[in-house]
Every structure is written in structure tokens, then in C-alpha cells.
Symmetry: C2
Subunit: 169 residues, 2 copies
DNA sequence: AGGGAAGTGTAATAGTATTACACCCTTGCG
DNA sequence: CGCAAGGGTGTAATACTATTACACTTCCCT
């Protein structure tokens, strides 16, 4: 499921706001590698969608992406959804369930890992951080209920460090 | 935020599938108590929506609820959304972000608690279980990032015990 | 050359949620 | 009593999110 990502060690841990991705090219490379491994084409459309997300510091809805892309040439939402499906499979884009929006991911993910998406209700940015404790907690809850876990969705709404400071000032 | 719920100790722990709620009346009472505490009316519409959800073993979308209610008398989705807002505030209904659907809740919730919604991809039922470990994990991740947490969304897709057995047979 | 898997472009449709507005009904006053 | 304010209702319209269907292409394998 995870597949191989070409951009290991991008972000040394977590903590940096998701923000304008330092290296769009590296993310493209990640997607390209995934495509190659599956013998699937890494098409124009897929690259365009990923690029838009990677340049943005906040999650975008599929229709916002559609609008951005349509500036140059008219694009239909369904085309964007198709690309998003691919990119999510590739692991370089995540969907934010609470906001029905999508954002590019800088991180290397491992199966069985639980990643927390921290969403700022003020500025909308997302920070992601893996948590072993959360993973264990999920595992424990599932076990106790005889539930066989497949994949988790963990989102935390709140206020990011930057916005807290700003407000204090 | 939590408010007082009248139906303490309904479910001795967790583990029982969400299923046809043993005591619809108790849930109604919970909502009524919340309304009273806020000096808000517990209206017909609110009771009807809660009753539909409480009788159902799976989450329903707002439009499914609308259809159920419309059997007796035509109802608009917006009316259902309004009631759902109230019931969520009251804490007796939750929204499942991954499925954009709603289900009635049997449990007493406490602030700072993290509740895991285990969603069966086979039969669609939801089981909820609080997890201290998850709560700690979220707290830790937030702290490390300077993030001020407000409320978490924790959903775990997988296969429930019942469906696992069924398949084995 | 032929066949199949995968992608594209376009149109239409399904499904989820909100806004706007006119009206009602209670509560709390002057 | 008169009447304003807050909340709920009912209705219509609209906005926003996601999927299905289909005709056509392209690439790869044989
Ligand atoms: Zn990620
Ligand atoms: Zn912020
Ligand atoms: Zn609950
Ligand atoms: Zn099941």
C-alpha cells in the first residue's frame, strides 16, 4: 500500500507548518517513483494537480484546484478527482475528511502508523505528525472490541502556534 | 460544552455494537435535559430526528433522515440539518466525517476525552470507545507542535467482530 | 495488426450542506 | 396592554462535493 517515496528525510521531524513546500520538485519525484513502480504513467494532469497543492500552504477543495488549473485551460472537476485518487494512492496527497479538502504531504509514512492532522481553525493550515501513542491507543481499542483495523483518520482541530502568537501580540 | 446527560451507565463499557438502541426514551431525555439547561425548547423536529437515529443501527445521512421523516409529512433537508446541529451540541448525536453521516450516541462524554469511532466497512455499523492512550497521543503531538487543541476526530475503518465471524463461517 | 489496460475530455447527474426570507410564538419588559 | 428581541419553522433556491457514463485515444504486449 505505502509504496516507495523518493523524497526521504525532507522534513526532519514535524513541527514546521505545512506551508509553501520547500521542494515541489521532490514531491513530484515521489509521485513519479510511485507511478514507475506500478508501471503507471505519471501524466501531465497528475503533475499539475500535485504542483498546485504543493505550492499552497492550505488544503484546497477539488473545485478550488479545478479553478486554479482552469486559468490556463478549462478543466473539469472529474479530471481533478481522478488525479487526486492517484496521488492519494501514491501517498503524496491526503484528504482532510473534516473539511473535504486535499493537501500535499512531505512525509514518509509507514504502514500501521497513525498520523495526526492538526488543523488550525484560524488560518486553515495543516501540520501532520505521527504518534505512536495514538497508534497504540487505536490498536488497543480495536483489540478490545474484536475489531480488525484497516486505516485510521485522526484530525485535531485547534489553533496553531503561529496564530496563538499573533493573537497574543 | 458537554452538558449533563440523563442516561448514565447505559452501556457498561463499550464493545456492544452501536445497534438498535436499547433505550430511545433515555436518549430523548438526555436531549431534553440539555435543552432545559440552556433554556432552549426541545421541539418536535428535534425529537423526531433523534428518534430516527436512535432506532437505526447504522449512521444515516441527513437526506436519509429526511426521507424517513418525509413518509409521514414532507420535510426539507435544511430542517434536519438544523435539528442535527442542536443534537450534536447536546452531545447525543455524532457526525461521522469519513462518511458524512450521523448517528445517535449512548455514551457519556467528558471534555478532553478522545473517542474512537470504529466503522465497519462491511456492515457500516459504528462502535465508539474512549481511549486515554489516544488522548495522550493527541495531547503530546499538539504540545510538541505548539498547537492548542480544541477537539479531535478519530475514526478507524475496519471490520467489526460480527462481520469477521460471519466471513469465517 | 489486434487486444487490453489506462487516461482523457465532456456531459450529465447524484449527493451533501447552506443561505435567504417570510412568518410564528414565546419571553421580557415599558 | 403593546411590542420588540430571540429562536424555531417552512419553503425555496442555491452552493458545494463527488460520481457515473460514454466515446475516444495512447501505450504496451503479443
Ligand atoms: Zn503525510
Ligand atoms: Zn493558524
Ligand atoms: Zn458518543
Ligand atoms: Zn460489520
Amino acid at each position: 500500500m505505502a509504496g516507495e517515496k523518493a523524497h526521504h528525510e525532507r522534513c526532519e521531524g514535524h513541527g514546521h507548518a505545512h506551508s509553501p513546500h520547500s521542494d515541489v520538485a521532490a514531491m513530484i519525484e515521489c509521485a513519479r517513483a510511485f507511478a514507475a513502480a506500478r508501471k503507471l504513467p505519471f501524466t501531465e494532469m497528475r503533475a499539475r494537480v500535485l504542483t498546485v497543492l504543493a505550492r499552497e500552504e492550505k488544503p484546497l477543495t477539488a473545485y478550488e484546484i479545478t479553478d486554479r488549473l482552469s486559468v490556463s485551460k478549462k478543466v473539469q472537476a472529474v479530471q481533478v478527482y481522478r488525479a487526486l485518487d492517484f496521488l492519494q494512492e501514491a501517498g503524496c496527497v491526503h484528504r482532510l475528511a473534516s473539511k473535504a479538502s486535499y493537501f500535499a504531504c512531505d512525509h514518509e509514512h509507514h504502514p500501521g502508523e497513525a498520523v495526526v492532522f492538526m488543523v488550525c481553525s484560524q488560518c486553515g493550515t495543516v501540520q501532520e505528525a505521527p504518534s505512536d501513542l495514538v497508534a497504540q491507543g487505536l490498536q488497543g481499542a480495536a483489540e478490545h472490541a474484536g475489531f480488525k483495523p484497516a486505516y485510521p483518520i485522526v484530525e485535531l482541530e485547534g489553533e496553531c502556534a503561529r496564530c496563538s502568537e499573533t493573537k497574543a501580540a
